[in-house]
Amino acid sequence: MKIKKIVSMLFALTMVTGCMASFTSCGGDEEKTGSSSTASNNSSNADESKDDGNSEEKTDGNDFGGATLKVLTHRTDRIEDGSLKEVTKEFEEKYNCKVEYQGFTDYASDVSTMMSTDDYGDVLMIPDTVKVKDLGTYFEPLGTYEEMDAKYNWANQKMYDDTVYGVAIGGSIAGGLCYNKATWEEAGITTLPKTEEEFIECLEKIRDNTDAIPYYTNFKDTWALAQWTSLVNSASGNSNYTNELLAEKKDVFAEDSAHYKVFKLMYDVFSDPTLIEVDPNTTDWEGSKAAIGSGTIATMCMGSWAVTQFQEVAETNGDDPANIGYMPCPISVNGVQYAESAPDYNMGINIHSEQKDLGKLYIEWYVEDSNIAYNEGYVQTVKGSEMPEYLEAFENVELFVSDAAPEDLVGVWDQIDQESEVGFYLQDSANFKVRLCEAAFRGEGDEGFKKIADEINKKWNATRDSVLG
């Protein structure tokens, strides 16, 4: 009897779980239908706004007779706090039109779905799901590459057959060094270093003239060493650098390579114990954030993402956040400093739009006059325009975007990186970055560097040859 009971209970249990599973899946379905209905609401809204646009007479010049321009954007935060609306008033008055913003939290996937219809606003951020060769089917051409490149940064990002379909709304810098402006000035440095020698001279000046730690290694946190890797492309000044290394089967640590230059610079700085903190083995990242704000640390190699963090900490500690500066990689190619940058979304115009002229004017206004990118701390799209305050050091630096890998080399770099256990961005204890630091701390000099560089070349080349065949 009892066995039966147990068995029947087990059956009941499985039944219940089964039902639960089906219930949850029902719930899922419901949600899906829910979201699709909102999507259809959205598109019907779009219809309405478009009808409005049609009913209005279009006039020449600056008067669009109150036409409505619908803009799809990922910046829902700027819509919610009303700041986007506020800024756009200037545009609306100038051209006598109305700009209607529609925000998407999950922009790329929602808008990609909308693009299967003709209604996807007038101006929109081009989702990366649109393949480059399909740009012409969805977006209005904005000009030839030559025209656009003369005016704008990153003009080749949304381009096919020399026709440009999108303009970046702004961009960011890939790699550089954070420094405390006040401390650098106190040390008597007036111009930022452009070469490795100048950089080390600057650090020596800081050591001699101030109480600050010239460079803080953050050696205990291996990810902080990986920040040096993000300088490599900038140091090469070549948008096709990594692809060429692979295609031409060059040594990554050949003596003139950007990898060699960047890590040699790191090695040289770390080799001089007077330029870095006393005990790199027990560094404190959180503590270093506060210290660079107060100026007791002068320099750290960090991605530009760190700047906002440093500024926030400086603000809470009562230090001046404006003291946090960001300088380009102090390595020049033929006397020119380069910086790798990456654009944010590109804005394009719906090819089915009724308001193409107004759309073009809007994009122009957005990147040239609105100052939105500048106020948000982005690099501006218009060439030669003012950098955000913390990036002022990049004003005379040549910005470029790295080329995508050609089809036969897609993913190959990462595969070699991982299989060979070189790990340029990785953080294991036997990583070459860690070993370079250890050798530098032991004071092994140029020979120590050469030995590790040769080993990396050997490991890398062996794996590369087996991967590429």
Partner: protein, 311 residues
């Protein structure tokens, strides 16, 4: 046991229902119900993954299990041919030597604590306390202890502060020269309490009559230790030493947190984890785990055979 069997044998003609209602049946069902969950969990979370690991060690695979490729013994060949894998066992020697020192110290402290002493239990508590502490907490404490602070970003570490009272210059303890010794010290500090307790237990199990007789014969404390205590607890000491071998090859959390394996403090376990999760070579890492497992099994077999007669 035999009785039970014959009883149930005789009554084998009982129906299932009757058997269940009987004492034996109730006992069996209760045991099964109570064991069901722990055994299921044990199988699910220990034996199945372990069996999988054996399989993985013959494969080349990533964390997500895509692109599985059978490579036979290649992973094992890599471990034994590429010196960078087995070299990490070198650091185990530090811990092994450290644990022998630890045994000696523990034995000394235990015999002191077994003599007539005030506040014995207080000292026992103090010495055992580190063993109860979380390994991460211990590691963070010692990170601050060994720190050579610059006084700018981080304050001076405890050890250097104390030494500066005696006029000693601050020293970078976790630098390449001394890092391993510091780490061994940490693990000694942490585990010695447990050894002391083991030895105290062993020493207290010696009959007090023997001591009294020895005392009457005029034996001093060293003689009592050498000729009474030591022979009585010899097997415990040997057992502890063999356990120390297992401990030394599987050191992980202390170096992982304090130095991150830098300055030549990597251990085999850290290397295994990095192989698996930094370089996404799950197959190779499984093979490394198998190597570690086999060493542990060998050591355990030695321990069992050596102590078979004595226990």
């Amino acid at each position: 046991m035999d009785d039970l069997l014959t009883v149930s044998g005789k009554k084998s003609k009982k129906t299932a229902k009757q058997w269940i209602q009987s004492y034996d049946g109730q006992k069996a069902i209760t045991s099964i119900v109570f064991l069901l969950i722990p055994v299921a969990l044990l199988i699910l979370f220990t034996f199945v993954p372990a069996a999988n690991m054996v399989v993985y060690s013959f494969q080349k695979r990533s964390q997500l299990g895509t692109d599985i490729e059978w490579v036979g013994l290649d992973n094992y060949k890599t471990i034994f041919s590429d010196s960078s894998y087995l070299m990490t066992f070198k650091n185990s020697i530090y811990y092994l030597i450290g644990s022998f020192i630890q045994q000696a110290l523990a034995l000394l402290v235990a015999s002191v604590l077994c003599s007539r002493l005030r506040c014995k239990n207080f000292f026992k508590g103090v010495l055992f306390f580190p063993y109860l502490m979380n390994g991460v907490a211990v590691s963070l404490i010692f990170l601050n202890f060994f720190k050579n602070g610059d006084g700018v970003v981080s304050p001076q570490g405890t050890l250097n502060s104390i030494l500066s009272v005696f006029g000693v210059e601050p020293y970078t303890w976790l630098g390449a020269e001394t890092a391993n010794f510091c780490l061994v010290f940490v693990s000694l500090w942490r585990y010695i309490g447990f050894d002391i307790l083991m030895y105290i237990g062993a020493i207290q199990s010696i009959n007090t009559d023997v001591y009294e007789a020895a005392e009457l014969d005029g034996a001093n404390s060293w003689q009592r230790f050498r000729y009474i205590v030591f022979p009585s607890i010899k097997s415990i000491i040997a057992l502890q030493c063999i356990l120390a071998v297992n401990g030394a090859i599987s050191v992980f959390e202390t170096p992982y947190i304090i130095t991150g394996g830098k300055n030549g403090t990597t251990t085999f376990v850290i290397k295994t984890i990095e192989t698996a999760f930094t370089y996404d070579k799950i197959g190779l890492a499984s093979a490394m785990a198998m190597v570690l497992l086999s060493i542990t099994i060998v050591v355990t077999i030695i321990q069992k055979t050596v102590f078979k007669e004595e226990t």
